[in-house]
């Protein structure tokens, strides 16, 4: 996190150079030997390294809108985080010319024990806005999120919808030219969605770059220029959005996708409690 390093003379906006990112999973020690049993009894864990992404090399040019496709366990989110720099690769390197705004689960970063205004300051600050900048924009952010009336109320148990809108509005207020977005465009009613669209289209027309992960094919078809398909931690193919969607549709991981979606719903329920 980044201390985000920028490489101003880079030709592409983001460059992945044989990037790998792994997690070390802890599992109970297995094996029946005496030694292993003792270690298991002592609560020791086994550490297995698992590569979420490996040997990923690609270029993303300025002004492109790229759909990152793949099953949910294909490392899509990690790809976005690596691009934005909120994850540091274990192998290879990621170079970027401009900062990317990581719109990844922003809703989770909201703190319910703070007021709406304070949340705007925190998230805005995390995304690289200066306090002065936030101060100037706080009004328009609140208006867009439709929370102007309760700006100084505590977030508390605000509905997921409201929080989602707030997160979205803050991200859109940042003066940036590139966004890495995970699932955020699923908010609100028809009117509100149309409004979000307009915002994004306007940004794109102004030359902004988008990296998108979404489970809404229609949206991707309409918005993105091309697609990168991830599979088993590597880039399967870089292709058009239509073809990419078709390829993903045939991948065996499709069931898991629906399962993940249910998981997400569960999360929302938790939030409501």
């Amino acid at each position: 996190m980044p201390r985000i390093h920028l490489t101003p003379d880079l030709a592409a906006l983001v460059e992945f150079d044989s990037v790998g990112s792994s997690v070390v999973r802890r599992s109970r020690r297995k094996g029946g030997g005496r030694k292993q049993k003792i270690r298991r009894f002592a609560g020791e864990f086994q550490h297995d390294r698992e590569w979420l992404l490996r040997d990923v090399s690609t270029l993303i040019g300025a002004g492109e809108s790229v759909a990152i496709l793949g099953t949910p366990d294909s490392g899509r989110e990690e790809f976005l985080r690596l691009a934005a720099g909120t994850l540091i690769p274990d192998e290879g390197r990621v170079l970027r010319r401009e900062p990317l705004i990581p719109m990844i689960n922003v809703i989770r970063a909201l703190d319910r024990s703070y007021t709406f205004r304070q949340n705007i300051y925190i998230i805005g600050g995390l995304l690289g806005m200066t306090p002065n900048e936030v101060e100037m924009k706080v009004g328009s952010i609140a208006e867009e999120a439709e929370v102007a009336a309760k700006l100084d109320k505590y977030l508390g148990d605000a509905k997921p919808m409201i929080r989602q809108k707030l997160a979205w509005s803050i991200c859109m207020a940042v003066d940036a030219n590139a966004y890495a977005i995970d699932q955020i465009v699923v908010v609100g009613g028809e009117d509100y969605r149309a409004h979000c669209w307009e915002r994004m289209e306007a940004k794109r027309a102004a030359g902004a770059t988008f990296l998108l992960v979404s489970d809404e094919p229609d949206f991707l078809l309409r918005f993105c220029d091309r697609a990168i398909v991830l599979k088993d931690g590597g880039i399967l193919v870089e292709t058009s959005v239509e073809q990419g969607l078709a390829i993903v549709g045939e991948l065996p991981g499709d069931e898991r996708r629906t399962k993940r979606k249910e998981d997400d719903d569960d999360d929302v329920d938790e939030d409501e409690i």
Partner: protein, 244 residues
Amino acid sequence: MLVLRDLQKQYTKFRLGYLWTLLEPLGMSIVLWLVFSVLLSRQLGEQPYALFITVAILPWWWFTKGISQSTRAFKKNTNALAISLLPTELWVLRVILVSMAEFLLSLPIILLAMAFTRYVPGPLIVFYPVAIILQFLLMYGIGLLVASGVAVIPDLARIVRIVMRALFYLSPVLYSVSKIPHHIQSYASLNPMVGILGLYRIGFWPAEIERTINYVISFLVALVLIGVGLFVFRRLEPRILKED
């Protein structure tokens, strides 16, 4: 600048509890004073003993709080870490600064103790701010070390708690360095808090100045720890970001 914002936010939580920032260490000092001075009537430190304890216990409180909270600096904020474009160290810095603010706000207790004991510090009180800065540096180093260490060894948080408790008795909070037997005094000096607590006190009891070497050692240890902390932190930063 964001740290300031953060602090301010943190304080909206604390505002209700500002009195607590005063009462907690105050109660602690009173209890310790009663036990060691009135009940045991031991000559552990300089007179007046009530003030002697208070002067050291406030910084100690800050030290313990800051360090034990920095074990959670990243864990508590994984969601924010996932989107933050700011340097990761800020989360540690923030924890230390928040506890420092609490410490500064609790300083009136010393005035209270001074009034109670009718004891006025001499000109060497100018070292008080120096001690604060020194302690801040020391804590930042340890905080970085501990905060990133937790990402690798989850048990570290518990270890830290135990070590802090042990350090409380190993550091001259309740007694003065001169009361330590001579042959172990030089080992005691290796504890950086020895020098820092001494600096807090020399304004009140100039006699504490005798062992200049302590101050040099604390300063060096603080510098080394910051170096080590930053180094370890850099090495572990990828792991820290992966926590979730």
